[in-house]
Amino acid sequence: MGIMTEAVVRTELERSADKDRPQPMIEARGLHKQFKTPVVKEGSFAGIRTLFTREYRVKEAVKDISFTINQGDFIGYIGPNGAGKSTTIKMLTGILHPSSGEVRIAGVDPHRHRRRVVSRLGVVFGQRSQLWWDLPVKDSYEILAHMYKVGDKERDLRLGQLSELLGLGEFWTTPVRKLSLGQRMRADIAASMLHDPDVLFMDEPTIGLDVTAKRSIRDFLKTLNTEFGKTILLTTHDMDDIEQLCERVMVINHGQLSYDGTIDELREKIGLPTTIRVTFAGAWSIPLPPGEILRLPLEVRLPTGEAFRVVETGPDYVRVEANRQQIRAVDILREMSAWGEAADIHTEEPAFEDVIHKVY
């Protein structure tokens, strides 16, 4: 890349910084990706014949995806396997070229200026390490610092900070192949932060970790976002990660974006019922029309027309389900208090996992 192109890119960035509206950090516009896979031949010499075949099957992995992510956002990007998640991420990072559509990271196209874009990105692939397998952890940092043109002083300062936050000291000189999964993950996350990128792509950063390790990674990512203002795109199958860290979530399915909004809006939209469990002190009974026996699930309709469902009864409790969008909890409880003396009330929101399951 010549000096001219660099100058053009730089003025482009400066110009956009002058605008009143802050430039989005990550922008995807009409992304499409098609894969042509050769039709696999059967029979003798299948291997050779497949190599020379002209028959192709076209698979649309990503269909017309557009979204905007602003600086300081913490976005969850989820979808079932094969939905096109990793394909999208690869297009955002410049690994894969889109069939059509555009990507801009801080205003720069990663396909035309891969190295420039990537020098401001931090990427963590949870399933594999980017560190040098046989070398001590500190050597990997030394090599990476050099690759990303991070000066010695800056590197040491940052590693000091990261070491405190992530507890790197305990395996500083250990070869990467001897680290436990939790340690390796921390080392990898530190590596991704070495050059102080503005944007982080985290792919399954908590996979396979125990509860304590997960919590410390989550805390660290939260800190990065809230205290250091990093923009983070998190891809994961762990719904707890999403719930605890992200305000906004994008759901991809069959190559298309089926939802892009906040978690609360998603819950509302899906409308899974809330469960309320009331424990009664003493005797209780549900009023029924004369001659009818209790059959579950039983729909209880209020005079106002709103309804909730009784799904389970026990010796001293009743469990009901209702859509909080349609009926207020306070109205449900008022109705139930007529059934007996309530001793204890327990409310459960639908599990986020179940919500997501419905979206998929």
Binding site: K90, T93, I95, V118, V123, D134, P136, D139, E142
Partner: protein, 266 residues
């Protein structure tokens, strides 16, 4: 990206590799000696034969030893720096190549900096046979001291040529994915072939080893001038040119292969 940047990067990488390799000194030393010994066995095979029968098609044992040593040293140089290029198949099947694309450096250089492989056994064996051969020929008055710097040049250009061949074979991996078999042909077989003087082979094989897979320019062609005074000094310039052309062509092919990889994703 300037030279100083890369030199420094490699320096850090090499130093780390050596440090971690040297951790178990006994193991390292033993490994080195065993590797050298095992490699020398291959040369001993031909040495025993030539010792019994004299020269082969006009090539003495010293000359054959020279061919052997130059090839070993060129190969060691190439594989030390570009070992993971040779093992590109692993990167393609595991998807690890994507990771390298997230680094702010050209993919090829990222690939090469993944691993610096120390090959002390090969260096020891090659160095030993080379010294022995050069010494023997100098004693017999066949060559003078000038052959030594010429040889170093040739080892370097040889490494470049082997690198170009290896890179081209690896590039085929973008289409074929599995390139182990191909590598056996373009690298193992051809490198073994030119350890012996090309005059032994029929013309068709000689042509392949010069034009199609230019390994002949790694050791044979230069030795015609350096050891036997044939052809003339321009040969050395020619070798440098051949190396440059091969390098250029292979890198262009690599770029083409990479862009295909980034479009098709596999």
């Amino acid at each position: 990206m300037n030279i100083r940047y890369w030199l420094h990067l490699y320096f850090v990488l090499i130093r780390s590799s050596i440090r971690s390799g040297m951790q178990y000194k006994m193991n390292f030393l033993l490994g080195m000696l065993l590797a050298a010994g095992i490699q020398i066995a291959e040369f001993l095979m031909i040495a025993i034969v030539l010792n019994k029968f004299g020269a082969v098609k006009g090539w003495s044992l010293y000359e054959v030893g020279y061919l052997f040593a130059v090839m070993t040293l060129s190969k060691a140089l190439y594989r030390s720096f570009a070992n993971d290029v040779h093992h590109l198949e692993n990167y393609l099947t595991s998807g690890d190549l994507d990771q390298l694309l997230t680094r702010p450096v050209p993919v090829l250089l990222a690939l090469m900096s993944q691993n610096f492989r120390m090959m002390p056994g090969e260096l020891l064996q090659g160095g030993f046979i080379l010294t022995w051969a050069l010494h023997g020929m100098m004693q017999a008055g066949q060559i003078t001291w000038i052959a030594v710097p010429f040889t170093f040049l040739v080892i370097f250009t040889g490494a470049v040529i082997l690198f170009a061949i290896g890179l081209t074979t690896a590039t085929a991996g973008f289409w074929l994915t599995r390139i182990n078999e191909l590598q056996t042909l373009t690298e193992d077989a051809s490198q073994t072939a030119v350890r012996y003087p090309l005059v032994l082979y029929p013309v068709w094989l000689r042509s392949i080893l010069l034009v199609v897979i230019p390994v002949g320019f790694v050791n044979y062609v230069p030795s015609l001038f350096i050891l036997r005074g044939e052809l003339g000094a321009w040969v050395l310039l020619g070798i440098v040119l051949v190396a440059a052309v091969c390098l250029f062509a292979s890198m262009k092919l690599w770029t083409f292969g990479m862009s295909r990889y980034q479009s098709t994703g596999s």
